[in-house]
């Protein structure tokens, strides 16, 4: 692309922005900046129009739409559309924060000239083009983007700039899958801007991948909050006002972008309540940001915002105590008490221990000595005392800490085997509910538990398991065995109680059944197989994850509703929540960094140039304020099938497939879910072949797909080989159920490595890898996932976000073993879970830096274990590590080449 400077209309300057690798256009007179090349003065919006009350001319509609297109990229949509604030450093990388046009926030260097010329007055800020996407704001910093992403971004941007005023051009590149092996770096390419077809002809699934509550990392800006409680909504479809609506009638009315209803603009919309003077409408956050948070007035409350209540249910039966679970859990709670969100000092806590009886602790005010109350009648659970069981965290902090110190000793010699989880949960629930009726409420219920409770009838299936594994009946093991956990979950959801489960067990304990409770109450399941606190790695992992979960700010009492333009229907919902009506999801708590997938059907042909999706989450923040978080996204439609293919997003499609596969494995069978995913992929390939390639020429020699979807087959293969879905007779049902829970709740950023692990060679990494670079620790270049890359003298790291394997080749030189492990030679090295010490040599420091970086770079509380795997070590561990190399053939599962050739056969036979 030629320098745009020559083509600029008068009064404009183009400046190369090195950070973002694209031109920034500056109007010299006003200092206004924008990424899109300015078109002609004639259609530039005049500033006077920005004044309140001014009419918006139809011309702007086109502009708006273009902005909408830009927005979709920001949103990182997928599955041909999807909005995933969670995934991809890549999307965030290119605008890198400099996309903010708010005068105070621009990067100094690139805007220096502008600042000196004329800084725009705040009231005049050109908000039209200011896509200050919260996506960008929330996105991880640029430093997370590996360096190689840069040129690609550059390309993509230039691409984006090719179209001028209208919609951007889409170029479709066809890739032959047979001749182009998957390159892990392609996963980091920012997704294309989504285009929607008017009907479901492209066979590409359509879904919204959504992480409404993402953690704010360093450098992320918070979601803008609108505090004046002026909430403009459409009278008919209840859509919140957003950047895509159109102001008509001199700015006195606005037209809803979903149902075309004309609505009055509320009177106080243009009034600045803080300064008590007329405000600038165009400065309002809801007209400038696609993610905003409204402070909700009392109409949005069923009752006053409730304080958070944390109840910890700790299993203190023999097995739990002897493995050190109780000690680790109490210590972690104690250490993290101050991190529990409690800005307003209202948070309440209670601790209940249980084995075959329930132990309540009463902490009366004024004394730090806890009194233990034992309830051994667990058939009909009651609370032994009406008050003092639940105490205010801020007021009774000391007594809670004192109690936590004592629990370990109290149950030290507990020989009781068996635990009454069910009754304990009911007790916790009663404690919360009983309080609600008096004055307070609700929140998180934690349960740490160890063994199968003998008292809840869930042992029923234990004996049959070995016979069922690998057969078509296996999916039965993944469903709830007893209805208690489902019915109880419904009760919890109604009473706004969310449950997180931390499960520890060496033996079968039916994770599938227990996970129902977190699933329907929008909590999360954490599973530590064969936990033993004697191994410091186990204790660290659990303490880290539990601590993160405790410290996590949560949304409480939330409901989420997704609205979309006419012709689109939300057909199914995936994730951790309870579906309360056809489009309303009940979530007692929204933990951070949890992803939800919403499948969308195009029911009637879409005739509008763009469609809008709006997700609203009504919630109470953890400091007691009622708020509505609104996420709006507009997607342009196109009648050209090639644009649809060129704009499909492989990462979002893979995320959607993971959700869909798990759903099908529960409602149908595991084979069915694999077949379904396989068939959907083939349908996409066939649709592509028939519509995009010339008459299927050379059909036998190639398997064509658009370039932006070329990683899809390998991601699908990764999914088919994932523990949650894989065909095997060896996978314990507990592990499978846990993997499925992860597949349906992790945001794409965590999910994609889980499907397609990252593989690094450490012995020959480039010199800068492992050192602190411009964007933090530099990671080595990832390798394709095949064991062909394993050399006998090498040291490799394979990680999937949940576990890390440090693979040591059998001919590893002594110097390497000495440098990394401080051991004399390969023979003395032992495989298994380990903590790698930092040794006093640069190589060890670099490797530790890489491991540390991998543990920290993704969102979510997970802390992966590190295993040392010797090439000739114990077979189970070796096979486990090798199973992460998904492009290899393993047992009955095909290699990537075999997988492609079956795909080709199926595709060419049609």
């Amino acid at each position: 692309m030629a320098t745009p400077a020559q083509q600029l209309p008068q009064g404009w300057e183009a400046e190369w922005d090195a950070n973002n690798q694209r031109y920034l256009f500056i109007e010299t007179a006003t200092g206004r900046t924008q990424w899109e090349p300015p078109v002609d003065q004639g259609i530039q919006p005049q500033y006077s129009e920005n004044a309140p009350g001014a009419a918006e001319q139809p011309v702007h509609h086109g502009k708006r739409r273009q902005y909408a297109a830009g927005q979709t990229q920001a949103y990182y949509g997928g599955g041909e559309s999807s909005l995933d604030p969670g995934y991809l450093a890549g999307t965030a990388a290119q605008p890198g924060g400099a996309q903010l046009f708010t005068p105070g926030l621009v990067g100094e260097n690139q805007f220096a000239s502008q600042q000196t010329q004329a800084a725009p007055a705040p009231g005049q800020a050109p908000q039209y083009y200011a896509p200050a996407e919260p996506e960008y704001i929330n996105a991880p910093g640029f430093q997370q983007q590996p360096a190689y992403g840069q040129p690609v971004d550059n390309l993509a941007n230039q691409f984006g700039q090719m179209g001028l005023a209208g919609q951007k051009q889409f170029q479709l590149y066809t890739t032959n899958l047979l001749t182009s092996p998957p390159d892990p770096r392609d996963l980091h390419i920012p997704p294309p801007e989504i285009r929607l077809p008017p009907n479901a002809s492209a066979k590409i699934p359509l879904a919204l991948i959504l992480t409404p509550y993402r953690s704010l990392k360093e450098g992320d800006e918070p979601v803008p909050v609108i505090t004046d409680t002026v909430i403009a909504r459409c009278r008919r479809c209840r859509t919140y006002i957003n950047p895509y609506v159109q102001f008509i009638d001199g700015g006195n009315r606005w037209r809803c972008c979903m149902c075309n209803m004309t609505n009055e603009v509320p009177q106080l919309f243009d009034w600045d309540q803080v300064r008590n003077q007329p405000g600038d409408r165009w400065a309002r956050a809801e007209l400038n940001h696609s993610v905003v948070e409204f402070v909700a007035p009392t109409e949005y409350m069923v009752r006053p915002p409730q304080p958070a209540v944390y109840i910890f249910l700790i299993d203190v039966s023999n097995a739990a105590v002897s493995t050190g679970m109780v000690a680790t859990a109490t210590r972690t709670i104690k250490e993290n008490l101050e991190r529990i969100p409690d800005e307003d000092g209202r948070t309440k806590v209670a601790i209940i221990c249980f084995d075959v009886s329930l132990y309540f602790f009463s902490l009366p005010q004024g004394t730090t000595e806890p009194t233990m109350l034992v309830v051994s009648d667990i058939d009909d659970v009651f609370l032994p005392k009406p008050n003092d069981l639940l105490v205010n965290l801020a007021e009774s902090r000391e007594s809670v800490e004192n109690l936590l110190d004592k629990i370990g000793n109290m149950f030290q010699d507990n020989h009781i085997i068996g635990s009454a989880l069910g009754p304990a949960l009911q007790a916790g629930f009663k404690l919360m509910v009983s309080v609600i009726t008096v004055r307070l409420s609700v929140a998180k219920l934690w349960s740490c538990r160890r063994v199968c409770p003998a008292l809840v009838p869930e042992r029923s299936r234990t004996g049959k398991i070995p016979k069922i594994l690998g057969t078509s009946k296996e999916s039965g093991l993944l469903q709830a065995a007893v209805p208690f956990y489902k019915t109880f979950a419904i009760e919890c959801s109604r009473a706004q109680v969310s449950v997180d489960m931390f499960l520890f067990s060496a033996s079968y304990q039916d994770v599938a059944t227990l996970a129902c409770l977190p699933h329907y109450t929008s909590g999360q399941t954490y599973y530590y197989p064969a936990f033993n606190a004697v191994r410091s790695e186990d204790a660290i992992k659990f303490a880290h994850e539990f601590g993160e979960v405790l410290a996590m700010p949560i949304m409480l009492e939330a409901v989420m509703r997704v609205r979309a333009s006419r012709g689109l229907r939300m057909s199914s919902f995936h994730g951790n929540f309870f579906v309360r009506s056809t489009d309303l999801l009940a979530m007692p708590a929204v933990p951070q960094d949890q992803s939800y997938a919403i499948e969308i059907q195009i029911e009637e042909t879409i005739s509008t140039p763009f469609v809008v999706f709006q997700t609203a989450v009504l919630h109470t923040t953890c400091y007691g304020e009622r708020r509505i978080r609104v996420v709006t996204q507009a997607l342009p439609t196109t009648s050209s099938l090639s644009e649809v293919f060129a704009s499909a997003d492989q990462v979002a499609i893979a995320t959607f497939f993971a959700n869909k596969a798990v759903e099908r494995s529960l409602t149908h069978k595991l084979e069915d879910s694999r077949d379904f995913i396989h068939k959907t992929l083939i349908d996409i390939l066939i649709a592509y072949k028939t519509s995009m390639t010339s008459g299927g020429a050379g059909a036998s020699g190639q398997l064509a797909i658009s370039d932006n979807m070329k990683m899809l087959p390998v991601l699908v293969l990764g999914l088919l080989k994932n523990v949650g879905i894989r065909q095997s007779t060896q996978i314990p049902p507990d592990l499978r159920a846990y993997a499925q829970a992860l597949l349906t709740s992790m945001p794409s950023q965590l999910l994609i490595p889980y499907l397609y692990p990252t593989f690094y060679a450490l012995h020959n990494m480039p010199p800068e890898a492992g050192t602190i670079g411009e964007h933090g620790v530099v990671l080595p270049p990832p390798l394709p996932l095949t064991s062909e890359r394993l050399e006998r003298h090498g040291l490799y790291l394979i990680e999937d976000g949940q576990t890390m394997f440090l693979w040591v080749g059998r001919d590893a030189v002594e110097a390497l073993v000495r440098d990394v492990f401080d051991l004399p030679g390969y023979e003395t090295l032992r495989g298994g879970k380990t903590t790698l010490r930092v040794l006093d040599n640069p190589f060890s420091e670099r490797i530790n830096a890489i491991i540390q970086k991998i543990r920290e770079m993704r969102r979510g509380p997970y802390y992966p274990h590190l295993y040392i795997v010797k090439e000739d070590g114990e077979p189970p561990l070796r096979l486990w590590a090798l199973s992460a190399l998904i492009q290899d053939r393993a047992d009955v599962l095909p290699s990537y080449q075999q997988f492609l050739s079956t795909l080709r056969e199926k595709v060419s036979s049609t």
């Binding site: 329907y520 309870f578 309360r580």
Partner: protein
């Protein structure tokens, strides 16, 4: 004498079942249009599931006892279907899955509605035939 009374009883009985199914249909469409939440719906409907199955089974057994083979055979498929569901323990409506399975439930309810309607007219016909035969 017996057949006439039996079919009179069956007519009234199937009319009752018919109304039951209409109630189910209404409840499902209420759920679709968000007039009722899935928890209440399931609690309400689950009370009626087993009584409905039981009533149908009772009627079938009456036919068997009275030796009304055609009427009995007409009812056997539904009897087997219900029995299978109870045996597999998936006869109850599950609030957590209701939106995923709603289409299936509705189809089933419409099918049963049609079945009871046909039964109603069949029993009516048989009742008239029996009464005419008894009082020539």
């Amino acid at each position: 004498m017996g057949a006439g009374w039996l079919f009179l009883f069956a007519v009234l009985y199937s009319a009752g079942l018919l109304f039951g199914m209409v109630f189910f249909v209404i409840m499902f469409s209420d759920l679709e249009s968000d007039y009722i939440n899935p928890i209440d719906l399931c609690n309400k409907l689950n009370q009626f599931v087993l009584p409905e199955y039981g009533a149908h089974a009772f009627l079938s057994i009456l036919f068997l006892l009275f030796g009304q083979w055609t009427a009995f055979l007409w009812n056997v498929p539904l009897l087997a279907y219900n029995g299978n569901k109870v045996f597999k323990k998936n006869h109850m409506y599950d609030a957590t899955e209701i939106f995923r399975t709603l289409g299936g439930h509705q189809k089933e309810t419409y099918f049963k509605l049609a079945f009871y309607l046909l039964s109603f007219f069949y029993y009516l016909y048989r009742m008239i035939v029996a009464l005419v035969a008894e009082n020539p």
